[in-house]
Point group: C2
Chain length 426, copies 2
């Protein structure tokens, strides 16, 4: 055991409040299993917030708005960072480590973007333990599982639904045939989606998460901005109809997979997922991470991807591991020499919107052939408007650059109405 | 780190051979992450086994058939027990702990039946670490997850498909409409089911597993033999037809759930599972454990429940945690004062085989009422043979003793052809 933890918490809103509630309401039980953890101080912007006052009433926790009140306090040996962002939060986390305080954070953007710096800083401060279970998929213990259950295994693919907002939206579109715009508005009205929904719908949230999992699974730092990322904004209800024809559905996935013995591909995209695959069965705001590996063959971890208590529970798990001295080190696993292959390979679904006419199949075939792509099937649902026909082509194994080339070429044809949409098929 | 592990392995067949292969083939990588583990000796019945000789060729591992050659060897600091059974295996495990050797075992029967003795013995030998990840659900890291990810949470229900053989059989019956006898024979021909399939089909395998998970989840020892256990032998294809009518399927589950603030119910039974529940989507030989809890709401862990490398991987995970000193203690979690309520409550599916006639619904209703059961629905698929009609009654919340009483009473009626089958509904 590590001895008592005196925690300084930065940010005490939805998740932080949940952490405080769990640590205080389960105090007695936690002590009985060797976890002596007290939130000694919280640092928040508005120290007069009534909800905060209510939360802390009757507890000896001090409240401050000055970072250094915690960072310079030698009696505080653990920092929980729940501010978010990569500016002040970065300063807080880096300074806490430099001061030899343990750090627990839910900040995916900070970890994904500054992992090499964090690794170096942690190596220089070997007594510091760094927990970040809450940074990926809220209540699913995927960080700890990757840290501790695949050491003797060889991971081949990590694929997951890691954004509840978009999964809620896609599930609605599939189930109710609602349009993208309608489900986005509904998600915004319900508070699931932000007024500016870009982080979710453009895939940036997933980008940071898959970067973190790729490091744990394959040992290589992947800069989030370098990950080919496609969001869900171009998905239409017709795509679900075609997917259904294929015994599949559409899910926004982050994928990191071995592409050769010493290279991996990492990307974020809506993916056509067969409904027989466990990923295809996870609907609504739930998340799933599915891991394909040499020994375990297939393991899936399903749970709530966000929310006050699922996320707070993951933060508390880090507190417990810290108190019980069972935090795996190094925090980000081993580092291996692995190349990143952005031009990933797969089978693809390509939807072409066109005005119906003669010779179209021949022209699609010509452009596929010119891009070196072998066509697997051409699907056509009943046509209602001959000027706006959505036709779907599925390909055999091809590189994404080839598919991009074919789509760019098809877009120049007079009867093609818009740049074709392409999605990998799982 | 714990320093080098010198392992003595008892049993070196399917799983043991897999463990040896993983530890030797990944030796270099494991050392790079602080895992220095060598299988110094194996103890097997037939030391001349050619497959064993081939496996060990080129390695310094010694082979013996005498338990004490390992147990009395002070240079061996870790025992892996893969013999199975509760006779010799028990002697080996208990003596190893007494000799202050760490123990890793896949032996569910040993753990489930002797957990109180093991707990006491481990308390008397505090330096000993005890790993048993492989004892439940092969490749799913469920033991470690329960040990380390729910400390700040409050578990309300653990329910799982924990036997691949019966899940394979039930999946086949559902998908192909095959009879129980036909799928059992096929499973036996394929080597999935034993010549004497009782441990699987009568639910005893699941009984031991849910006893272990109940301890980790709820803190109370549950004697396996005390767990109400129903196997799959009475399930017929007609049950899948009725389940389908209910938007459900049938799965053999081990369930441990909170029945009141200080009591739990533990049972093993085929269960009617809605196909919208993630448990209902896991087919074939796969396993799943689904955990309902206060903070995380719902978490599901899916994977291979058996097989050489999935199971061996779990054994290796215990080796890794031991070498990295991140084994949670106490091994079986905290012990709490929780009552066991065998007379569990639920909604039930009751199938009554009868000869069609006048007044049947009234009589069923009378007997339900006499047992204090409120009927939710009566289902009737089209009748083909009026002398053998399968009718299904679903109940509102009732205790299993009430349902049993109703079934016993119905069985005495002249037109009822056999004791009605009842299954809980998830």
């Amino acid at each position: 055991m590590s001895g008592p933890l005196r925690i300084g918490m930065f940010g005490c809103g939805t998740v932080g409040g949940g952490v405080f509630e769990i640590l205080t309401s389960r105090l007695q039980y936690l002590r009985s299993v060797g976890v002596d953890a007290t939130v000694a101080a919280v640092c928040v912007r508005n120290t007069a917030n009534p909800a905060l006052k209510a939360l802390l009433a009757g507890h000896a926790t001090t409240v401050t708005s000055k970072y250094d009140d915690i960072l310079e306090d030698p009696s505080i040996n653990c920092v929980i960072e729940l501010m978010g962002g990569v500016t002040d939060a970065k300063d807080v986390v880096f300074k806490a480590i430099a001061k030899n305080k343990h750090v627990i954070t839910a900040n995916k953007a900070l970890i994904a973007n500054f992992m090499p710096d964090l690794t170096a800083l942690l190596a220089a401060h070997p007594s510091v333990r760094f927990g970040y279970e809450a940074s990926v998929c809220g209540g699913i213990p995927i960080i700890h599982t990757l840290q501790s259950s695949y050491t003797g295994d060889g991971i081949q693919e990590i694929a997951g639904i890691m954004n509840g907002t978009t999964n809620y939206m896609l599930s609605k579109m599939e189930k109710e045939g609602a349009s993208y715009d309608a489900v986005l508005k509904e998600a915004q009205d319900l508070g699931f989606a932000e007024a500016n929904p870009s982080a979710d719908v453009d895939g940036y949230d997933v980008q940071a998460k898959i970067a973190i999992l790729a490091k744990l699974g394959f040992g290589c730092h992947v800069a989030p901005a370098s990950i080919p990322t496609t969001g869900i904004t171009r998905i239409k209800t017709i795509d679900f109809e075609y997917a259904k024809l294929m015994g599949a559905t559409i899910k926004l996935l982050g994928i990191a997979k071995q592409s050769s013995a010493d290279a991996i591909s990492v990307f974020v995209s809506p993916v056509v997922v067969p409904t027989t695959n466990v990923i295809g069965t996870v609907h609504g705001a739930s998340n799933i991470v599915n891991i394909v590996s040499a020994n375990c063959i297939n393991g899936a971890y399903v749970g709530q991807g966000a929310g006050r208590f699922p996320t707070a529970n993951s933060v508390v798990n880090d507190v417990v591991r810290l108190a019980q001295s069972v935090v795996p080190v190094p925090a980000f696993g081993s580092t291996r020499n692995v190349a990143i292959q952005n031009d990933y390979e797969g089978r693809f679904y390509v939807r072409v919107r066109l005005a119906d006419g003669l010779g179209i199949v021949r022209l699609i075939g010509t452009h596929a052939e010119e891009a070196g792509i072998s066509i697997d099937s051409i699907l056509q649902l009943p046509i209602t408007d001959r000027n706006n026909v959505d036709t779907v082509v599925t390909t055999d194994l091809a590189k994404v650059s080839q598919v991009q080339r074919m789509c760019d070429a098809l877009a120049t044809l007079p009867f093609v109405q818009e740049i074709p949409l392409f999605l990998p098929i799982l």
